[in-house]
Every structure is written in structure tokens, then in C-alpha cells.
Symmetry: C2
Subunit: 428 residues, 2 copies
């Protein structure tokens, strides 16, 4: 099919994020067109960031799930049992593929639902259920098939990671930081599912089942959270070069797959110790491979909806094999040589002759082309009378920088050519 018609159940943040993504699908790289047959949610007239009135409303998710016009059922309702489970079962039994972001449902009933999907010859997909926008499910399932995984570990709950990061940063105790996080929207009004470690446990159970071809048995996962972490734990650990974080891990042992969520202390130079705030990160260790780490936004409407779209895009029948993932209807762009109107700050290194006025002459030459100095270090001159100067400029265009560089080359006090290196802005 070159067109996929969706039934979407659940219109919270992620559901609305998906609808707004569908409404501007021309900008995406989907293999075909996505249409919405109908939507369903608990409450029809809640305030939402998208106008859902233009889509056909279904009071009952299961009725939508088995509707004749629906090619794919998208479940964004949440909850491991109840209406979400019933609607997903109904869709699968009706021969409709299901895309879900529901980690509790998959962690607890995933294998039963997989069997049901196989019986009915359809796909069950849940990239969005683990780590939001980080595509770890497909990486483990489809890409890392040529390795033997030993361990999957990571930071899988942004709320917990924000809390421990922020406690140490601010010097405030757990209750204070949690309250602030709730005010800022970083923690739910009822944060139990997050802070107890249960949310991370759902995710690591799913990942472990894929990575180790293990039967998913959620009762065997040991779960603890961050509720009992106290500020002195973090402060004293810091003095011993350690960061305490909530770590989810699945390990292959001789006895079987051990899966747990618990606080661990990580040396500050540990790859996972550097992950601060609400980011998620997953590290896959495997022999012959070493370790591959994926990091990104683990929650949020945009990232999670993007992951749902990634799954939906796999449900189009491939009409042509494209090595570069391009479909006929895609806007094909062209490569262009770098433009000089790009702007950035620059790192400059100059050798100046040790004469009075040399530095003033340099900064004037830069200023003549609109290049101004943000930071500067100058060392004392070497035996040859050359004095090393390094500068961080304010932002300017590459064109201005080129012209300034030409002018600087002409100065009598400048030894060797000036070194010009663009600075990339901070990115976490």
C-alpha cells in the first residue's frame, strides 16, 4: 500500500503530537501518505493543542480498532490492562497491525500479544514504548543481529535522572527538588510510576527480551527507585568521584537473564555518568562489537510521536528498494558548496611580534570587518620575540571573517598565517 489509514486511540500529549506530525507529513520522509480514519479518547471535549473535531470520533477504541477502513491501529491510551489491552487484542484479531507506545502493556502482555499478532499474520510495533525518540528497539531487533549481546544498561527514566542530577546541582533534598520538578512539568502530579523505578523496569524488560531472545517475565525483574535517595548520598559519593543514578540493566548470566532497576554509583568518567537531566541513554555491550551507546530525548510529545511515525512508516509495502531510503514523491534536494553567509564564533591563533601596539593593530584589523573579541589570552614572547595570542570572537559571518583574516595577514606585526577555526555552539 502507498497509503496507510490510521485509527488513533488516545489523544493525550503523544496522540496530539502524532496528529500534528501527520498534518505536516510532507516535510517528513515517509514512504507514502498517512490518513486518519478516526480518533478515540476518554473525553471528547478536553482542550487539546490540535483540533480533533475534524476527524471522525469513536467513543469506543475497540470499535475503531476493528473498523473496516483502518489499516493500522495506533494505541496511545496507556495502562497495562483494561481498554488499551482490549483494543489492541481486537485490532490484532481483526488482522490489523498495531503500533503502540504503551510500555506497561508490552512489558506485561507483550509475548501474548506477539503470539496473537503472529496468528493473524500482522505486525505489532512498539519503538515509542522505550526511550521515546531514541530508536533503540529497532537497533536491537534489526541492526545488532550480528552480535552476541552481553549486557544492556541505561538511564531509562528522565524524571529520576533529573531528580538526582538536580539534587546534587542545587544542594536541595529529594522532596524539595521533586516539588520543583512537578511545578516545572518534569515530574507527574503522581510521580509514583517514575520514582519507584517501575517505568524504567517496563522498558528494560522489553529491551532485555529482544537483546537476549529471552521470554519476557516481568515478575522476575527486581525494581527499586530513587524515593529513598538522600542528599548526603549524592554529596559524599561526589567527593569519592562517583555519581549516583538510577540504572536499568539486563545482563546475560549463566543462570539466565538478570534484569533490574536500582541506584548505582558510577565513576565520574563513566559514559553514563555524564548523562544529565531528562535525557535517556542506552548502552549495548556485545562481544566482537564492544559498546554502542544511543542518547536522546526519552519522553515528550514530539520525540515519542516521531517514534510512532517511524513504526508506521515500516507498514507501507515497499514499492521500490531504495538504498538511500528515498521514495518517488520525496523532495529531492541537492548538495551545495558551503556558503559564506553562515555565521559562527571563531577561535583564532596568531603569532605577534613583541612590539608595542601589535595587539591593538590586530584587534583594529578584526574590528574593521565587524569581528569583535569575546575572550583573549596572550602569552609572553618566546626567545624569537614571537608572542602567541588566542582569541574567541563574537558571532560574525564567515565572509567577514575571511576579509578580516586577509587584512590581518597584511599586518607587519603578524608572524605566520592566522589560524581560523569556527566554533560549534554548545550542544548537550
Amino acid at each position: 500500500m502507498k497509503k496507510v489509514r490510521l485509527g488513533i486511540a488516545g489523544l493525550g500529549h503523544v496522540g496530539c503530537g502524532l496528529i500534528s506530525l501527520i498534518e505536516r507529513q510532507a516535510e517528513l520522509r515517509l514512504p507514502g501518505r498517512v490518513e486518519i480514519v478516526g480518533v478515540s479518547a476518554r473525553s471528547r471535549h478536553r482542550a487539546r493543542v490540535v483540533d480533533v473535531d475534524k476527524y471522525t470520533w469513536f467513543d469506543d477504541a475497540a470499535t475503531l480498532a476493528e473498523h473496516a477502513d483502518v489499516d493500522v491501529f495506533v494505541e496511545l491510551m496507556g495502562g497495562s490492562d483494561g481498554p488499551a489491552k482490549f483494543a489492541v487484542e481486537t485490532a490484532l484479531k481483526a488482522g490489523k497491525p498495531v503500533v503502540t507506545a504503551n510500555k506497561a502493556l508490552i512489558a506485561i502482555h507483550g509475548q501474548m500479544l506477539e503470539a496473537l499478532a503472529q496468528e493473524n499474520g500482522v505486525d505489532l510495533m512498539f519503538e515509542a514504548a522505550v526511550a521515546g525518540g531514541v530508536p533503540i528497539v529497532r537497533v536491537l531487533r534489526d541492526s545488532l543481529t550480528g552480535v552476541s549481546v552481553q549486557r544492556v544498561s541505561g538511564i531509562l527514566n528522565g524524571t529520576c535522572n533529573y531528580l538526582t542530577t538536580e539534587m546534587l546541582r542545587s544542594g536541595q533534598d529529594y522532596d524539595e527538588v521533586l516539588e520543583a520538578a512537578q511545578r516545572l512539568g518534569y515530574a507527574e502530579a503522581d510521580p509514583t510510576l517514575d520514582v519507584s523505578g517501575m517505568d524504567a523496569a517496563h522498558k528494560i524488560a522489553i529491551l532485555s527480551s529482544i537483546a537476549f531472545t529471552a521470554d519476557l517475565d516481568f515478575d522476575k525483574v527486581s525494581v527499586s527507585g530513587v524515593e529513598n535517595i538522600q542528599l548526603p548520598d549524592l554529596v559524599l559519593a561526589d567527593r569519592l568521584g562517583l555519581r549516583i543514578k538510577l540504572i536499568a540493566e539486563g545482563i546475560l548470566t549463566d543462570a539466565g537473564v538478570v534484569c533490574r532497576v536500582a541506584t548505582k554509583a558510577l565513576p565520574v568518567d563513566h559514559a553514563l555518568a555524564r548523562i544529565n537531566g531528562a535525557e535517556n541513554t542506552i548502552r549495548v555491550e556485545a562481544d566482537t562489537l564492544g559498546a554502542v551507546t544511543l542518547t536522546g530525548p526519552g519522553a515528550g510529545a514530539g520525540p515519542t510521536a516521531s517514534a510512532v511515525m517511524g513504526d508506521i512508516s515500516k507498514l507501507f509495502t515497499p514499492t521500490a528498494r531504495s538504498a538511500f531510503g528515498r521514495a518517488e514523491h520525496h523532495l529531492v534536494r541537492h548538495f551545495e558548496a558551503a556558503q559564506l553567509d553562515e555565521r559562527s564564533a571563531f577561535f583564532l591563533r596568531i603569532k605577534l611580534s613583541d612590539k608595542s601596539g601589535a595587539l591593538a593593530g590586530l584587534t583594529e584589523a578584526l574590528a574593521a570587518h565587524g569581528v569583535s573579541v569575546d575572550k583573549l589570552v596572550q602569552d609572553s614572547a618566546d626567545e624569537a620575540g614571537a608572542s602567541p595570542v588566542a582569541i574567541v570572537t563574537h558571532t560574525c559571518s564567515w565572509r567577514d571573517m575571511n576579509q578580516a583574516s586577509d587584512r590581518v595577514s597584511g599586518l607587519a606585526s603578524v608572524i605566520d598565517e592566522m589560524r581560523v577555526i569556527p566554533i560549534d555552539p554548545v550542544a548537550n
Copy 2:
């Protein structure tokens, strides 16, 4: 097909790595069985880490490529033109899917080869051509289809990153560090392709073409390398809070896709600034998503061969849809509760009453169960006479730690329960 029969051309590090992976394929998560029909390389009798004599030898790669028994042709010869290109063309024309690790071939002839693959209705796959074991090609092509990518940037050449990292660390100049790197095998005898930035340019051109649905035009890529970096650049930048690294980037601009490889200065808290040594990392920035970063081994026989296997595994006809990526022949493992014979170091926090001998009593109680102290900090007592103590232990079993913890709880000088947090060993 439940069986895939390979013709493998090129028996260098990666080719031999692939053969040894195939020889122990039962440990992997392949959807079926892989067989080797024949092998080909420039020299038959070179010393190799695997015994290739047991496989049928072909003097000519193209003859192997079109052999009737070959289902998939694997090209690991290298070089953008010449025999590699001819053999790949021959395979595609004969209706055989091709898996290659050849970045120069794909960067320069990728779209011509894609057209040839499409004409013949077969797949052309090149996960291993970019960033070795890091599965960025499939992530960009298949997972991140629900986002609009703005920028792809990264550290795509381990040799260059090792050189700049090591110059700053050791305080040695470029030539010295390069020579040492060549001795250690981190740089090739002829390092030109790496240090000129050309290798990274091949990779970023491929990634940009996928990410932006852009026609691959390698002539438009601007390329510079690390050959001219001098130690004072790195040292002075460091004093201004910057790390200089070779950065490959593709950016979507109004004029088109700008693709370049050049040294850039990154603030020390920039995500890419932390990548040291020979690792590769790729950061994908997209609206609605934010940024997702993948990090891992960018080269080496094991990681690259694993990536080749990942591609091969996609060429099996799916016989059953499995949400968890499990095939019938896979060893199915089970989840197991955590075992107490696991071993690690521990972070301990104790409140001790401020009496003489309290600390000695504590360390004796630990030692009685084989738990010994590696590092310890003790603060002066608070008004209530409680003195905070934090300990990093040497490695011991969790069972010993549990017993030691019980004994410590019984000590009269211990206030509150001892906090016990396992330490994860350093991982980069």
C-alpha cells in the same frame, strides 16, 4: 529464504572478521542460516587469522559475484573504482543483492549503483560503510523517517580524533603522535585518506544523502583534515575552554545541503567534545525530535563485520513477524532473579556515633565478611554527635556485602541503616 549463501570478495581484516563471525553464527540472532559459497581476494596465500582454504576460491571477484549459487554478494575489497566497482555492478546485473563496507564506492558511485539495484529489483546495503559498528545508516533510513532532519554532525574518523586527543593529552606535536599511532596500529602506514579528512567526507556525504533525501554529489563536499593542526592550537584552545576536533557535518540550508569536513572548536561541555580516542559519534538534530546521538566503535574487524552481518540478516525472507525479533531456531533464554554471587565494588554511607573506636568497629565488621575498604571519607560530627562516613569498598560478592551489612546494623555505634549502592566499573 531461510538460508542465505554468500560470495565474499576481500579477505582483509573485515573479510576475515566476517568469516569468523559466520563460523560461530549459532551465538548470533540471525533469522536463518548463512553459508559461504566462495571467497575471493587479491592474494590467496597471505597469512590470515582464519583458514580460508576450506572455502572455494575464486581468482576473480566478478566471477564469484555472478555465480549461480550465490544469493548475496559481499564486497569488502575497497577502492571507489576498479575491481570492487566492477564486481558490485556484475552482482547487481545478475540480480544478486549486494552488501558492502566500501564508503568510497558508495560516496562516489552510490546513486548509480542504487539505480542499477532498482532496475534489477535487488537490495544494495552499506551499513558497514559508515562508522563501523554504529548502526547509523539504518537508524537514519528506517527509524528516523518521522522527523525532519536539520543537521547531521559527528566525529567520523577515529584516527583523526585519536591524533588530536592524544596531542593535547601528551603535549606532543602532530608528527610525533602520528608516528606513535602508526606503531600502535591506530593509524595506517599511509594515513593520507584518514588525516586529509577524505574518509570522513565519504561517510558524511552518504549520511547527508539519506538524511536530507539529497542527490549525492561528492564534488560539492568541502574537505580538510588535521595535517596542519599544531600543538599550540590545541593548548591555547584548551585554555579558552575549547576542544579542537575534526567534525563532519551536513546541514540543511535554504540553498541546499551543505556538507563539509573541517576542524572545529567545541566548548568542553559540548556533547561531541567528550568523545576521545578512536570512537565515532553521530548526532542527528531534527525538529520535533531534538537530538539523538549514537556512539561506538567506528572501525575494527569485529564491529565492521557485525554491521555487515546486520545487513545480511535483512536479506532473509521474513517467515513470521516477530515483534521481539526472535526466530524459531533461536535459543530462548529465561529471566532470572538477581543472583547474590555477582561481584562489584560498593559505595557505603554510614552515620557513626562520635565515640572512640566506632570507625574501627565498622571496618572490622566489614572485614569479618571479606569486605575491605578502598577509599574512605569521614566528616566531623554534627551537633547530635553523628559523624557521616562514606566508603568505597574493594570488589566483593553481593552475598558477602549483604552479610556484612547485617553485621554493621547490629553495631551500637551505627545510627540509621547503612546505605549500600553497587558501583558500576568505568565504561567509556
